[in-house]
């Protein structure tokens, strides 16, 4: 109990004094998570919108595949990307393994289906009258799709925030593809994992508290975005 108290005190000290190692780890985590969220959003939001607007025979199957991919564990995604980028893999020549780019790539792959599925769902729930109104006001297909997407923009933003929350808290991809290299690919979650295995709780607790605050902030942002007209 006393050890835990000491660890908490030390963790708070590390946060309040903006410890250099904590700052480096948090900054790397944020950088990777923001980059992968941005990349995934650029690819998956248009894909999700296109899927919502598309009419084709196997649409339900595509949606089912997307929903299945949401449940894939991060270590499986990490392993999949590892097989692509390790030295003998098809992308081995790019020498991405154990680099920030590898983590960003893995995290992007992880949240692509999530952002696409949430975007598709967001656009599908827009009142059909919006589409008909845009059409009867003379909008072409592209402008109509943009208008419908614009009506779902709060939900699309929530999709991005949810994806960010997913990657900032993942450990499997960062560990497998990043290698937990200090000052380079060490993230909040891999650092917590390492510190815990060493029996040194203070740094892990400090990072855990920061992660918890980030998750709290993400939830607040999602709730506020969900209720106000943008």
């Amino acid at each position: 109990m006393n050890d835990l108290k000491l660890a908490f005190t030390e963790a708070l000290r590390l946060i309040l004094t903006v410890d250099a190692e904590v700052a480096t780890i948090v900054s790397a985590s944020l950088r990777f998570a923001l980059s992968s969220t941005l990349l995934a959003s650029i690819i998956a939001i248009p894909a999700g919108i296109a899927l919502a607007n598309a009419r084709f025979r196997f649409k339900r199957i595509v949606e089912d595949i997307l929903n299945t991919l949401l449940a894939v564990p991060t270590v499986v995604v990490g392993l999949f990307v590892y097989t692509l980028i390790y030295s003998q893999g098809p992308l081995g020549e790019l020498r991405l393994l154990f680099s920030p780019e590898a983590i960003i790539l893995g995290q992007t792959v992880l949240i692509l289906p999530l952002v696409a599925a949430l975007s598709c769902g967001a656009v599908s729930t827009v009142n059909p009258t919006v589409r008909e109104t845009a059409f009867t006001l003379g909008a072409g297909r592209f402008r109509t799709i943009l208008t419908v997407a614009s009506e779902a923009r709060a939900a699309l933003l929530i999709a991005c925030i949810t994806a960010f929350g997913r990657v900032i808290g993942e450990v499997g991809i960062s560990l497998i593809l990043g290698g937990n290299i200090q000052g380079y690919t060490r993230t909040i979650t891999t650092a917590i994992s390492l510190q815990t295995s060493k029996g040194e709780f203070a740094l892990g607790l400090a990072l855990g508290m920061i992660l918890l605050c980030a998750a709290f902030g993400i939830n607040i942002a999602a709730r506020l975005l969900g209720r106000r007209p943008l």
Binding site: N127, T129, V130, E132, T133, A134, F135, T136, L137, G138, A139, G140, R143, T147, S150, E151, R153, P229, L230
Partner: protein, 218 residues
């Protein structure tokens, strides 16, 4: 493009799940007049308006708009000759001004012209004070007038209104009548209304078509 007849309907049949929702063998609607289709719910009024607005294609038949076949016609120029006000209209999640300018942008109007026309209709519809408010923050009556303004500002040759008085408050009703009569008189617009409200129809329509189970009676 104009042939003096806004719509020529021939052998129009539309079916939902095997049931005939609309069956109009022959109907011409000359331009520059106000027509009303009346009838109970399910009589086919809205379906007819959706077909006339090019929103849905009928099961069979032909609908000429200004002499051009409109069914499955993807020419945006033809589509932009018509605008429809829905029975339960929605305003987009943006300001009133942007809502009203939306169709003008879609029609490719020059920016200066858009500003001028939006300003004019805002004044005519008594909406200038709320022009820059978000559509979700205005009153019900203002929203109804904004919906009308958004369609009327386009000055399309054909205007379709699905139960327009359903969503209108008493104060906005005379504005609607005035605007529709003005569109007919000054621009020769053809106006087609689907409605229950016989008082409103009697005050405005040149010709009334009672619809019953998808067929025109009388």
């Amino acid at each position: 493009m104009s042939s003096g007849v806004a719509y020529s309907i021939r052998s129009l049949v539309h079916r939902y799940d095997g049931n005939t929702a609309l069956d109009i063998p022959h109907l011409d609607l000359p331009s520059g007049r106000i027509y009303a289709f009346t009838g109970p719910n399910g009589s086919g009024k809205s379906t007819l308006l959706f077909i006339l607005a090019l929103l849905i294609a009928p099961s069979s038949g032909s609908v000429l708009l200004d002499g051009v076949e409109s069914i499955r016609n993807r020419d945006p120029r033809l589509r932009r000759r018509v605008t429809l006000i829905h029975q339960k209209p929605v305003l987009f999640s943006t300001t009133v001004r942007r809502n009203i300018a939306y169709g003008l942008h879609a029609h490719g109007c020059p920016k200066k012209e858009i500003r001028r026309r939006v300003r004019t209709i805002l004044e005519e519809m008594n909406l200038s004070a709320v022009a820059d408010k978000h559509a979700a923050k205005i009153s019900g009556g203002e929203a109804q007038r904004a919906v009308l303004a958004r369609s009327l500002v386009l000055e399309t040759p054909v205007l379709l209104l699905d139960e327009p008085t359903n969503s209108l408050d008493d104060a906005s009703r005379p504005i609607l009548v005035q605007m529709l009569l003005g569109a007919k008189r000054t621009r020769g617009a053809t106006i087609v209304i689907a409605a229950h409200d016989s008082n409103f129809i009697d005050s405005i329509a040149d010709r009334v078509f009672p619809l019953e189970e998808g067929k025109i009676r009388g």
